[in-house]
Amino acid sequence: METQQLIKEVNEALATEFEIEVSSISAGANIKDTLDLDSLGLVDMVALIENKFGVKIQSADIPAIKIFEDLYNFLLGKLK
């Protein structure tokens, strides 16, 4: 998948699920703060990504995914 297409799809999916404007998502923004995620919300984000992109985010991967760019890079790495 093209990088820009992936970013667009990730952003739209997250914005829809967590009911925020897509425009409020930027590569450098903190994911938890932007999506208003607590530990339970994080579970829903992981489930959403797995459901939409078929990529499992393991618990061990989560600490390294802090900003949206981390998430894009993680997915791009898995989808290669």
């Binding site: 967590f18 009911e19 607590d38 339970l40 579970v43 829903d44 489930a47």
Partner: protein
Amino acid sequence: MGIYSCLGKNLEEVRQSLYDGKSGIIFDPARKELGFRSGLTAYLEIPNLKGILSRNQRVYMPEQAHYAYVATAEALQNAGLGQDYLDTREVGLLYGNDSSADAVMKSIDTMREKKDTTMIGAGGIFQSMNSTVTMNLACIFKLKGINMTISGACASGSHAIGLGSLLIRMGLQDCIVCGGAQEVNPFSIGSFDGINAFSVREDAPEKASRPFDRDRDGLVPGGGAATVIIESYESAIQRGAPVLAEICGYGFSSNGDHISVPNVDGPSRSLQMAIREAGIDIREIGYINAHATSTPVGDSNEAKAIANVFGAYRPEVTSTKSQTGHEMWMAGASEIIYSMLMMKNDFIAPNINFENPDEASAGLNIPAKRVTKRFDTFLSNSFGFGGTNSTLVVKNI
């Protein structure tokens, strides 16, 4: 008080439906496709709470919690209980609920399909538990007193109010949000349909729920939610609350008998206890809201129990389930509200579809047409599987 039912989305709509003798029952073809014996059900829309509650609040709420939220918001508003009060006092929460089958089913379906429990999502566990309504309402309204779901089958809502009244009488709580909620989706009652408990009068849905009528052939499932705010008299007066009525008697009993077939002795004892606790003469009771669900044995045995307790005194007896179907976990609370709406507006809603009595119901005074009557005390019965019985006596203020 606040309510969300097949008779209306608020107190005023419900009052009008009761007054008009309107039925909330429809035929749902989708149930037949699922293999239901009966496609009859009460009909109500699931309220859209988007824009009212955040995503992070809604994600933990199953269907019946949506109903309960709307009913509770209305009740709190009518009781003059704002968020400032809830934030600074220990207001309790006791709500009847005895299933959350749709959420359980969806979680298990996901688990089986995906083989990955994370895919169930964060809402699954909170939506699936019997206490889902109280856990959601307590967090949304930031309630700080007792916080518990009462699961007493089809008497759940009545027991919640009765137990709440005891906590207040004991001085342990000043104010408690009480009620009952019931999911309406087909998956929650497929197993109930499977034991041949439902009416199959599918050609005339509005005539299917016919409590006490000789030709009744089973209940019609319904649901929604109903909330009443109960409070110590002193607390209510102190804050200038609109006091509507007094819960003056709570009676309860267990049949100690069959799991589904009710008897006469258990309900009789529940009625007698409620009247004894109320400390009133039976002749003060101007209306009886019966549990009668439109099942052959249940209605008959309740009619006998009422006749045993009330003897020659025959106040009007109706079952509002003739209009609503059986609201199950919600029924004990909603029927307090239906009766309150009647008491406050000087009428008794008709026991619709009561065309011919059977041997037991012939001994009761059951109006098939609306009655104009002023009454100041009513009694409400709620009975459930396993032989749990609850009776409330409520006096006008």
